[in-house]
């Protein structure tokens, strides 16, 4: 079944927790895969996304992997107006594991393309 998010693109600020001036980013749901502009830039490949609906809205979950930068697990909720999104970045090195949370909010940029 086609998701309500499929074919949609959201744009808004997205940055690390505590960051004063988060950069604009775009979040795209296309062909059953989720991607963000910054992730594509960093080498994270688009990945399949899962959705479920509850009283708060339509939730989604996707885990994007990069050969050099680790993984980012994105999850968010779309309430019909905006997409609240959280990204948990994890990068493992032999001496430690970096974990960082990114937060953002996207406004619908484009309607379904098909």
């Amino acid at each position: 079944m086609r998701s309500e998010l499929e074919g949609r693109k959201f744009v808004g600020p997205f940055g690390a927790e505590g960051e004063k001036n988060p950069k604009q980013d775009s979040f795209t749901f296309k062909d059953g895969k989720f991607s963000t502009a910054s992730c594509l830039e960093w080498g994270f490949e688009p990945a399949p996304y899962w959705t479920r609906r509850d009283a708060r809205g339509l939730h989604f979950l996707a885990e994007l992997k990069s050969p050099d930068h680790g993984t980012i697990r994105y999850q968010g909720v779309y309430d019909g107006k905006k997409l609240n999104i959280v990204g948990y970045w994890k990068k493992e090195r032999w001496y430690w594991t970096v974990e960082r949370t990114y937060r953002g909010e996207g406004r619908l940029q484009a309607n379904r393309s098909r």
Partner: protein, 220 residues
């Protein structure tokens, strides 16, 4: 009034003090640069650079800590302060590795060179002592030093030399008596520490601080 020999001795001590002061200042300067480099924010984009910086800082830490009288330990502390308790493991591993080369150098330095250095410094009593113990084996050195120790504390420290080493390595401000590198080198020069026992002592001696920080961070 000082005689000529006394004047030369004080001049030598002054020059050596100046050299060590210079080394200390260089160490502080390098430490300052490293501290500035860590003052960045860790992001996906900057992580590879951070990774390289951490490895460079680790290498600098090993190098500075291994050099006698260099305040290398500040880099380790800074790494923990800036990067958090997660970096404790790396700092711990670097600390243990840093204290091995100076010990081995100390072990490999022929006693005659130590005697020459002590003579140059005008430390006659120590020079004579070094000359006497130079041809002895480690066990013979230990017996000789305990027998000829000037007070009651020295034989106690010699008998518990591994504990003494652990205490001195952890002593705040030990850079004034040579720092980790200087202490390790001296430990090697004495010939009283077998290599595996020395490594084990160092591994245990430097563990409490990073372990305590890590456990505190985990909520223990």
């Amino acid at each position: 009034m000082l005689n000529r020999e006394g004047s030369i001795r004080w001049a030598r001590i002054f020059v050596i003090g100046l050299a060590f002061g210079g080394l200390y200042a260089v160490g502080q300067f390098v430490t300052g640069i490293v501290v500035q480099q860590f003052d960045l924010v860790l992001h996906v984009r900057s992580e590879p650079m951070f990774h390289r910086l951490i490895l460079i800082a680790g290498a600098a830490y090993i190098l500075l800590l291994a050099i006698p009288f260099m305040p290398g330990v500040e880099i380790g502390i800074t790494m923990i302060l800036v990067l958090g308790p997660k970096i404790c493991f790396l700092v711990y591993v670097c600390t243990v590795f840093a204290l091995i080369p100076p010990f081995l150098i100390g072990r490999l330095i022929p006693s005659r060179y130590c005697v020459r250095v002590l003579a140059f410094l005008g430390l006659e009593k120590l020079r004579r002592l070094m000359e006497e113990i130079a041809p002895l084996t480690a066990d013979e050195r230990f017996a000789f030093l305990v027998k000829n120790a000037p007070n009651r504390i020295t034989p106690f420290l010699l008998r518990h030399r591994f504990i003494a080493l652990a205490v001195v390595i952890n002593l705040p401000g030990n850079s004034l008596i040579g720092g980790g590198g200087g202490i390790a080198m001296l430990a090697g020069v004495t010939g009283l520490y077998p290599f595996p026992a020395y490594v084990l002592t160092v591994a245990l001696a430097v563990a409490p601080v990073p372990l305590l920080i890590s456990l505190t961070a985990l909520g223990f």
